[in-house]
């Protein structure tokens, strides 16, 4: 089905919210509105069935999940994608069942369960939201404040957990990279392109950004893997 592969859906979701969580949930609302547009249901029933497609939607969901700080971004994206597909089919089969809004509720729970135990991150998001508001006033100046807020907050919590054998400079570098990546538009290399023994570390520490599981043995590798993430940082003025 074209809608799922369309850039339009992603753009609408992007516009619909300011946090990655809100954007993920917005997908369900947008599809609901879209299905309810006059004449749409009928033409959908005559068109091709809802099928999974190799679409940008999955990648989009992974990016949002990473930005939201999900414990396992790949899993969350896959779960949201599956329930979205199932709901769209059910929605067309039986409009009265309100499949998409039930799916949205499920999505809310799935997102929440991945954020649990991530309280410090939530704090950071509030700070960054405030910082964004300040940016409206201070433009480039405030950009630095936001950056500091981002890289500062999670450190003490995570460092308390790390064993002594971890090199603090390396750990700081990892956190710095992780925070930096969240501010950019980033392309992650496909895990399949990496040697098999590096994939788990990559998914766990780089894509999901799970800093609490850093091991002395893999720390250097994590830093190297971070270097391979290709990011574009829009100038502060464009963020507005």
């Amino acid at each position: 089905m074209k809608i799922l592969a369309s850039g339009w859906l992603r753009r609408m979701a992007q516009k619909a919210g300011t946090t990655p969580q809100a954007r993920m949930l917005a997908l369900f609302d947008i599809l609901q509105d879209w299905v309810e547009a006059p004449g749409m249901r009928q033409s959908l029933l005559e068109a091709a069935p809802v099928n999974a497609e190799q679409s940008g939607l999955r990648t989009f969901l992974v990016q949002l999940a990473v930005k939201a700080g999900a414990a396992d971004a790949e899993a969350l994206a896959s779960q949201l994608y599956s329930i979205l597909l199932g709901a769209l089919r059910e929605e067309l089969r039986d409009p009265d069942r309100q499949a998409l809004s039930h799916a949205r509720l499920a999505a809310e729970r799935l997102i929440a369960s991945q954020m649990r135990g991530r309280a410090p991150m939530r704090g950071v998001m509030v700070i960054s939201a405030t910082a964004l508001a300040m940016m409206l006033l201070l433009s480039v100046f405030a950009f630095n404040i936001k950056r500091q807020a981002f890289s500062f907050a999670p450190l003490p919590v995570a460092l308390a957990k790390t064993p002594d054998t971890l090199n603090p400079d390396q750990v700081a570098a990892v956190y710095h990279m992780h925070d930096k990546i969240r501010e950019g538009e980033c392309g992650y290399p496909q895990a399949l392109m990496l040697p098999p023994e590096q994939r788990a570390v990559y998914m766990e520490n780089v894509v999901s950004g799970n800093g609490s599981d850093l091991l002395p043995a893999t720390l250097v590798l994590v830093n190297q893997l971070y270097q391979r993430v290709d990011c574009y940082y829009p100038p502060a003025a464009m963020l507005l």
Binding site: L45, E46, A47, A48, P49, V50, N51, A52, E53, Q54, E74, A75, S78, Q79, Y81, S82, I83, L84, L85, G86, A87, R89, E90, L92, R93, D94, R97, A99, H102, A103, L105, A106, R109, L110, S113
Partner: protein, 188 residues
């Protein structure tokens, strides 16, 4: 003999439908695969549609019976049954003879709501959802219909997603999602 012939047609049609798709399989192909005369086929099934309806019904019943039998046999509590749903869906899909959930495939091939095949597959997926809802009710969940619907959609979507890219882990992820949804429904 007549019963055997009917069976032979059903087996041949069932195999062809799932390897090539229902719409893509012509009556001539079924006749050739079953090794029978065309007249014999029409003696047992008035139209191709009748044959499709019967195949879809049988495959879906087979799925539902196997699922219920396995859940009844191996586990104790209703909550555990809900959580093990995905094990059996996965097991069913892993069998190369199965490829997909029969009622979902049929509804995808016949999207028009007034098509009898579509109506049948909608009924069968309703039965599947009711079965899950029943398990949720046994488990003492306060909004069993909502959970039943969510789990059914999750299964359907994960199966679709898995079909597109085998080994993407969609089913495994959906299983984790199901656990989260069940636990959160229990708390309410």
């Amino acid at each position: 003999m007549a019963k055997n012939m009917r069976e032979r047609i059903l087996v041949a049609a069932s195999t062809l439908f799932h390897t090539r798709g229902i719409n893509a399989t012509g009556v001539d192909t079924i006749v050739a695969e079953a090794g029978i005369a065309k007249m014999t086929l029409y003696k047992h099934f008035r139209t191709k549609e009748d044959l499709v309806l019967e195949v879809v019904t049988r495959r879906s019943r087979e799925f539902a019976e196997k699922l219920a039998a396995k859940l009844d046999k191996s586990t104790s509590g209703p909550v555990e049954k809900l959580q093990r749903l995905f094990d059996y869906v996965e097991e069913w899909l892993a069998d190369p003879q199965c490829s997909g959930l029969p009622f979902l495939k049929a509804s995808a091939e016949f999207p028009q709501p007034d098509s009898p095949v579509h109506r049948l597959s909608a009924e069968l997926s309703q039965e599947f959802r009711d079965y899950i809802t029943g398990l949720a009710r046994e488990a003492g969940i306060r909004a069993p219909e909502a959970l039943g619907l969510q789990l059914a959609m999750l299964i359907e979507g994960a199966v679709l997603s898995e079909q597109l890219s085998r080994g993407s882990g969609a089913l495994e992820h959906a299983r984790q999602a199901a656990r989260i949804l069940i636990e959160s429904a229990q708390r309410k």
